[in-house]
Symmetry: C2
Subunit: 220 residues, 2 copies
Amino acid sequence: MTDKLRRASGGQVVYAELKRQILSLELPPGRRLFEPELSQQLQVSRTPLREALRLLLAEDLVDQLPTGGMVVRSLSAQEIDELYTVRAALEGLMAAEAAERMTDEGAEALTRLVARNERLVEFAEDAMNAGHDFHLEIAEIAAHGWAARLHQQVDGQMARYRAFTNQSQLRRTAALEEHRGILDALVTRDAARARQLAEEHVLTARDTALSAIGERLPSA
Amino acid sequence: MTDKLRRASGGQVVYAELKRQILSLELPPGRRLFEPELSQQLQVSRTPLREALRLLLAEDLVDQLPTGGMVVRSLSAQEIDELYTVRAALEGLMAAEAAERMTDEGAEALTRLVARNERLVEFAEDAMNAGHDFHLEIAEIAAHGWAARLHQQVDGQMARYRAFTNQSQLRRTAALEEHRGILDALVTRDAARARQLAEEHVLTARDTALSAIGERLPSA
DNA sequence: GGAAGCATACTTGTATACAAGTGTGCAAAG
DNA sequence: CTTTGCACACTTGTATACAAGTATGCTTCC
């Protein structure tokens, strides 16, 4: 029998590594990417490296200079605003779908995540992750492949700036309360309310994020 | 002065050509893509061809076989359903934004497009294009880069199947009427109603499309 | 006649060599 | 001292050569 899982091709791991470096800000926005340099750093030839760069380009994580060559993409405050807006629409859609597909197991999983968030609300990092998992679980339950795909794309764009969002414990507590509301709408299978609350939740997060980021982002 | 517009690289034109062939069904879903074959057909070496394939892969227009190699992606009926659903959410969002940003020029452009659609409602192809332009103009007015980008992506996926949608003149007349309603909501700057109507419009189109496609798509 | 094993041709993935264009820095002239 | 022109180093884009793995079809054995 041939192995079902073939080892990831070099291009794939280069793509994953570069993406990680971009999202973790090791490669900051605006940074020019030189193929020979990265090639040597990652110990692959330019061919698989260029493959990885094309994937990142299609994902809008890097930009192509008019002259050729790539730079790590920068986001303006307006773009962050836009990303939150479409994310709100997508999460609203998925929440409505999830409400209709809700199962006992799903409700249990979500309840656990809210409880975890409750315990960790005082730790910014952990609370942020728990909150993020809550949204991912809703996406899982919604079982809406394309909404999930687009959401993932948008989420990846915002990943670099997420740390700015939940720094105030006041906001984290409020967010937790909003999650409770969404959970309630979901388990009672109230699709319209779930959608409404999920949307408002993201838009509230947007306002927090934008005012938090505000002065830090000139425009870039 | 150096020319601002550099000629498109070979990979770019190969990408555009392959995308055109996929969307026009010249390369039908399920078709295996062999690099040497396409390479010779398009008169480029495998290197820029592979670049184009990576871009198509990131756009979900082709799939990667577990063994390596690409096939033109197929959409199941459920996926088409999902695509319409997210498209409804995105167009609703853009309609709301457009209502708030509406200008006299925008209103005039939209009115012209509705009038054109009116004249051409009996010709399936032309009416379809006019209707599509109506949505694009709304996207233009909304000036929401990320919503437009995601919408374009979704629209590209559905492009292969759009011909199935507007085959009945009854549906085309109804769609025209829905466009009039959206236009009215937009020019009166009623964001909530614009969003609602735009969403319902797409969901109605979805129902038409799915029942029209229904038997033609086994699942694949 | 059917099945198993093997050789072969073809596929993709990777590396490297080559060509064309771009920007930079220095030198020289005004 | 400034500015213009040029040469060079370096960049990306492309083609080709090579390696490894896969599927296919034939031969051979049961």
